[in-house]
Symmetry: C2
Protein backbone atom coordinates (compact mmCIF):
# COMPACT_ATOMS: atom_id res chain seq x y z
CA UNK A 1 0.00 0.00 0.00
CA UNK A 2 1.14 3.50 -0.66
CA UNK A 3 0.85 6.46 1.59
CA UNK A 4 -2.55 7.74 0.57
CA UNK A 5 -4.31 4.45 0.99
CA UNK A 6 -2.84 3.94 4.44
CA UNK A 7 -3.78 7.44 5.44
CA UNK A 8 -7.37 7.11 4.32
CA UNK A 9 -7.72 3.80 6.01
CA UNK A 10 -6.86 5.33 9.34
CA UNK A 11 -8.51 8.67 8.85
CA UNK A 12 -5.41 10.83 8.82
CA UNK A 13 -3.79 12.85 6.06
CA UNK A 14 -1.09 11.54 3.79
CA UNK A 15 1.15 14.29 5.13
CA UNK A 16 0.74 12.92 8.62
CA UNK A 17 1.82 9.48 7.50
CA UNK A 18 4.73 10.98 5.61
CA UNK A 19 5.70 12.90 8.70
CA UNK A 20 5.72 9.78 10.87
CA UNK A 21 7.75 8.06 8.21
CA UNK A 22 10.20 10.90 8.01
CA UNK A 23 10.94 10.74 11.70
CA UNK A 24 11.24 6.96 11.48
CA UNK A 25 8.25 6.21 13.63
CA UNK A 26 7.18 4.12 10.65
CA UNK A 27 9.72 2.28 8.56
CA UNK A 28 8.13 1.09 5.34
CA UNK A 29 10.15 -0.40 2.52
CA UNK A 30 11.32 2.01 -0.13
CA UNK A 31 11.13 1.25 -3.81
CA UNK A 32 14.67 2.06 -4.91
CA UNK A 33 13.48 3.13 -8.33
CA UNK A 34 11.26 6.02 -7.36
CA UNK A 35 11.62 6.23 -3.59
CA UNK A 36 7.95 5.46 -3.14
CA UNK A 37 7.23 3.91 0.25
CA UNK A 38 5.40 0.61 0.50
CA UNK A 39 3.48 0.11 3.75
CA UNK A 40 2.98 -3.43 5.02
CA UNK A 41 0.29 -4.77 7.29
CA UNK A 42 2.69 -4.39 10.20
CA UNK A 43 3.24 -0.75 9.31
CA UNK A 44 -0.49 -0.18 9.34
CA UNK A 45 -0.81 -1.81 12.73
CA UNK A 46 1.91 0.37 14.05
CA UNK A 47 0.31 3.47 12.64
CA UNK A 48 -2.92 2.44 14.24
CA UNK A 49 -1.15 2.44 17.57
CA UNK A 50 0.35 5.84 16.93
CA UNK A 51 -3.00 7.34 16.01
CA UNK A 52 -4.63 5.87 19.09
CA UNK A 53 -1.89 7.17 21.34
CA UNK A 54 -2.02 10.62 19.77
CA UNK A 55 -5.75 10.73 20.40
CA UNK A 56 -5.03 10.06 24.05
CA UNK A 57 -2.75 13.08 24.29
CA UNK A 58 0.63 11.40 23.94
CA UNK A 59 3.16 13.44 21.99
CA UNK A 60 4.99 11.92 19.10
CA UNK A 61 8.10 11.82 21.22
CA UNK A 62 6.22 10.01 23.99
CA UNK A 63 5.15 7.45 21.46
CA UNK A 64 8.68 6.94 20.19
CA UNK A 65 9.80 6.28 23.74
CA UNK A 66 7.00 3.82 24.33
CA UNK A 67 7.67 1.91 21.14
CA UNK A 68 11.38 1.82 21.79
CA UNK A 69 10.77 0.26 25.20
CA UNK A 70 8.39 -2.31 23.74
CA UNK A 71 10.86 -3.26 21.05
CA UNK A 72 13.47 -3.68 23.74
CA UNK A 73 11.14 -6.22 25.39
CA UNK A 74 10.56 -3.97 28.37
CA UNK A 75 7.04 -3.29 29.50
CA UNK A 76 6.13 0.23 28.42
CA UNK A 77 3.20 0.30 30.85
CA UNK A 78 4.86 2.16 33.73
CA UNK A 79 6.10 4.77 31.28
CA UNK A 80 2.66 5.03 29.76
CA UNK A 81 0.99 5.55 33.11
CA UNK A 82 3.52 8.17 34.07
CA UNK A 83 3.28 10.09 30.82
CA UNK A 84 -0.47 10.20 30.66
CA UNK A 85 -0.75 11.59 34.15
CA UNK A 86 1.67 14.32 33.25
CA UNK A 87 -0.26 15.08 30.08
CA UNK A 88 -3.51 15.15 31.98
CA UNK A 89 -2.09 17.74 34.36
CA UNK A 90 -0.96 19.84 31.43
CA UNK A 91 -4.35 19.54 29.88
CA UNK A 92 -5.91 20.68 33.09
CA UNK A 93 -3.69 23.75 33.11
CA UNK A 94 -4.49 24.55 29.49
CA UNK A 95 -8.09 24.12 30.34
CA UNK A 96 -7.95 26.66 33.14
CA UNK A 97 -6.00 29.06 30.93
CA UNK A 98 -8.55 28.68 28.19
CA UNK A 99 -11.43 29.36 30.55
CA UNK A 100 -9.72 32.50 31.75
CA UNK A 101 -8.98 33.60 28.20
CA UNK A 102 -12.52 33.02 27.14
CA UNK A 103 -13.79 35.05 30.06
CA UNK A 104 -11.48 37.94 29.16
CA UNK A 105 -12.56 37.82 25.55
CA UNK A 106 -16.24 37.70 26.36
CA UNK A 107 -15.92 40.52 28.85
CA UNK A 108 -14.09 42.61 26.30
CA UNK A 109 -16.69 41.98 23.63
CA UNK A 110 -19.49 42.80 26.06
CA UNK A 111 -17.78 45.97 27.18
CA UNK A 112 -17.25 47.02 23.57
CA UNK A 113 -20.81 46.30 22.59
CA UNK A 114 -21.86 49.92 22.82
CA UNK A 115 -18.45 51.47 22.51
CA UNK A 116 -18.16 53.70 19.46
CA UNK A 117 -15.26 53.29 17.09
CA UNK A 118 -12.70 55.98 17.39
CA UNK A 119 -9.81 57.25 15.33
CA UNK A 120 -6.37 56.92 16.93
CA UNK A 121 -5.31 60.04 18.77
CA UNK A 122 -1.56 59.66 18.91
CA UNK A 123 -1.14 58.51 22.48
CA UNK A 124 -3.34 55.45 22.22
CA UNK A 125 -3.40 52.71 19.64
CA UNK A 126 -6.82 51.25 20.24
CA UNK A 127 -8.85 52.72 23.06
CA UNK A 128 -10.93 49.57 23.35
CA UNK A 129 -7.98 47.37 24.14
CA UNK A 130 -6.16 49.93 26.20
CA UNK A 131 -9.09 50.82 28.35
CA UNK A 132 -10.07 47.19 28.74
CA UNK A 133 -6.64 46.22 29.96
CA UNK A 134 -6.45 49.25 32.23
CA UNK A 135 -3.09 50.45 33.51
CA UNK A 136 -2.05 46.80 33.31
CA UNK A 137 1.29 47.44 34.97
CA UNK A 138 3.86 49.74 36.38
CA UNK A 139 5.20 52.63 34.34
CA UNK A 140 7.02 54.86 36.75
CA UNK A 141 9.38 56.70 34.44
CA UNK A 142 11.84 56.38 31.64
Amino acid sequence: MRVKEVAERLGVTADTVRFYTRIRLLNPNTNPHNQYKEYSHADVERLKFVVAARSLGFTVEDISTIIAKAEDHQSPCPTVRQIIEKRLEETERQFQDLIALRARMSAAIAQWEDTPDRVPNGHMICHMIESFAGGFSDDTEK
Copy 2:
Protein backbone atom coordinates in the same frame (compact mmCIF):
# COMPACT_ATOMS: atom_id res chain seq x y z
CA MET B 1 16.14 51.27 29.60
CA ARG B 2 17.54 48.01 28.41
CA VAL B 3 15.66 44.89 27.61
CA LYS B 4 15.62 43.24 30.99
CA GLU B 5 14.27 46.25 32.83
CA VAL B 6 11.48 46.71 30.30
CA ALA B 7 10.59 43.05 30.49
CA GLU B 8 10.43 42.98 34.27
CA ARG B 9 8.35 46.11 34.35
CA LEU B 10 5.69 44.48 32.21
CA GLY B 11 5.95 40.99 33.59
CA VAL B 12 7.25 39.27 30.49
CA THR B 13 10.58 37.65 29.74
CA ALA B 14 13.48 39.47 28.13
CA ASP B 15 13.27 36.95 25.31
CA THR B 16 9.74 38.03 24.62
CA VAL B 17 10.76 41.65 24.34
CA ARG B 18 13.68 40.66 22.13
CA PHE B 19 11.31 38.68 19.96
CA TYR B 20 8.96 41.63 19.51
CA THR B 21 11.94 43.76 18.70
CA ARG B 22 13.26 41.28 16.21
CA ILE B 23 10.03 41.29 14.26
CA ARG B 24 9.94 45.10 14.43
CA LEU B 25 6.85 45.30 16.56
CA LEU B 26 9.05 47.42 18.79
CA ASN B 27 11.67 49.73 17.33
CA PRO B 28 14.02 50.89 20.05
CA ASN B 29 17.18 52.81 19.30
CA THR B 30 20.30 50.76 18.89
CA ASN B 31 23.61 51.74 20.41
CA PRO B 32 25.93 51.47 17.43
CA HIS B 33 28.84 50.50 19.63
CA ASN B 34 27.50 47.27 21.07
CA GLN B 35 24.10 46.87 19.38
CA TYR B 36 22.36 47.12 22.73
CA LYS B 37 18.79 48.34 22.38
CA GLU B 38 17.58 51.35 24.33
CA TYR B 39 13.85 51.38 25.04
CA SER B 40 12.11 54.72 25.42
CA HIS B 41 8.94 55.56 27.27
CA ALA B 42 7.06 55.30 23.99
CA ASP B 43 8.46 51.83 23.41
CA VAL B 44 7.26 50.77 26.84
CA GLU B 45 3.78 52.13 26.12
CA ARG B 46 3.68 50.23 22.91
CA LEU B 47 4.81 47.03 24.57
CA LYS B 48 2.12 47.54 27.14
CA PHE B 49 -0.41 47.56 24.34
CA VAL B 50 1.06 44.42 22.82
CA VAL B 51 0.96 42.56 26.12
CA ALA B 52 -2.63 43.61 26.72
CA ALA B 53 -3.69 42.53 23.26
CA ARG B 54 -1.87 39.20 23.59
CA SER B 55 -3.71 38.57 26.85
CA LEU B 56 -6.96 39.09 24.97
CA GLY B 57 -6.08 36.38 22.48
CA PHE B 58 -4.81 38.49 19.60
CA THR B 59 -1.93 36.94 17.72
CA VAL B 60 1.24 38.87 17.15
CA GLU B 61 0.25 39.22 13.52
CA ASP B 62 -3.16 40.59 14.50
CA ILE B 63 -1.41 43.14 16.63
CA SER B 64 0.90 44.20 13.82
CA THR B 65 -2.14 44.75 11.63
CA ILE B 66 -3.89 46.80 14.29
CA ILE B 67 -0.88 48.98 14.94
CA ALA B 68 -0.28 49.52 11.25
CA LYS B 69 -3.85 50.74 10.84
CA ALA B 70 -3.57 53.06 13.79
CA GLU B 71 -0.31 54.51 12.50
CA ASP B 72 -2.00 55.10 9.20
CA HIS B 73 -4.61 57.20 11.06
CA GLN B 74 -7.37 54.68 10.34
CA SER B 75 -9.52 53.46 13.19
CA PRO B 76 -8.42 49.93 14.06
CA CYS B 77 -11.66 49.32 15.95
CA PRO B 78 -13.60 47.48 13.23
CA THR B 79 -10.61 45.22 12.67
CA VAL B 80 -10.31 44.64 16.37
CA ARG B 81 -13.95 43.67 16.74
CA GLN B 82 -13.72 41.34 13.79
CA ILE B 83 -10.55 39.65 14.93
CA ILE B 84 -11.63 39.05 18.48
CA GLU B 85 -14.82 37.38 17.41
CA LYS B 86 -12.89 35.05 15.19
CA ARG B 87 -10.48 34.29 18.01
CA LEU B 88 -13.31 33.66 20.39
CA GLU B 89 -14.78 31.10 18.03
CA GLU B 90 -11.42 29.39 17.76
CA THR B 91 -11.12 29.37 21.50
CA GLU B 92 -14.51 27.77 21.76
CA ARG B 93 -13.43 25.02 19.41
CA GLN B 94 -10.22 24.42 21.31
CA PHE B 95 -12.26 24.32 24.45
CA GLN B 96 -14.51 21.59 23.13
CA ASP B 97 -11.53 19.64 21.87
CA LEU B 98 -9.84 19.95 25.22
CA ILE B 99 -12.91 18.72 27.06
CA ALA B 100 -13.09 15.70 24.80
CA LEU B 101 -9.39 15.01 25.22
CA ARG B 102 -9.63 15.28 28.97
CA ALA B 103 -12.53 12.86 29.00
CA ARG B 104 -10.59 10.34 26.94
CA MET B 105 -7.57 10.66 29.18
CA SER B 106 -9.55 10.30 32.37
CA ALA B 107 -11.42 7.32 31.02
CA ALA B 108 -8.17 5.68 30.02
CA ILE B 109 -6.61 6.27 33.40
CA ALA B 110 -9.69 4.91 35.14
CA GLN B 111 -9.77 1.86 32.93
CA TRP B 112 -6.10 1.21 33.58
CA GLU B 113 -6.46 1.65 37.33
CA ASP B 114 -6.55 -2.08 37.97
CA THR B 115 -4.93 -3.21 34.76
CA PRO B 116 -1.70 -5.08 35.40
CA ASP B 117 1.45 -4.11 33.53
CA ARG B 118 2.39 -6.52 30.84
CA VAL B 119 5.43 -7.25 28.77
CA PRO B 120 5.04 -6.72 25.02
CA ASN B 121 4.08 -9.87 23.18
CA GLY B 122 5.12 -9.06 19.65
CA HIS B 123 1.79 -8.24 18.11
CA MET B 124 0.93 -5.45 20.48
CA ILE B 125 2.94 -2.51 21.63
CA CYS B 126 1.04 -1.48 24.71
CA HIS B 127 -2.08 -3.45 25.54
CA MET B 128 -3.44 -0.59 27.62
CA ILE B 129 -3.50 1.86 24.74
CA GLU B 130 -4.49 -0.69 22.14
CA SER B 131 -7.38 -2.10 24.09
CA PHE B 132 -8.53 1.35 25.13
CA ALA B 133 -8.62 2.57 21.57
CA GLY B 134 -10.30 -0.62 20.39
CA GLY B 135 -10.13 -1.59 16.75
CA PHE B 136 -10.11 2.13 16.05
CA SER B 137 -10.45 1.68 12.34
CA ASP B 138 -10.62 -0.49 9.29
CA ASP B 139 -7.91 -3.00 8.55
CA THR B 140 -9.21 -5.16 5.77
CA GLU B 141 -5.97 -6.47 4.31
CA LYS B 142 -2.58 -5.60 3.01
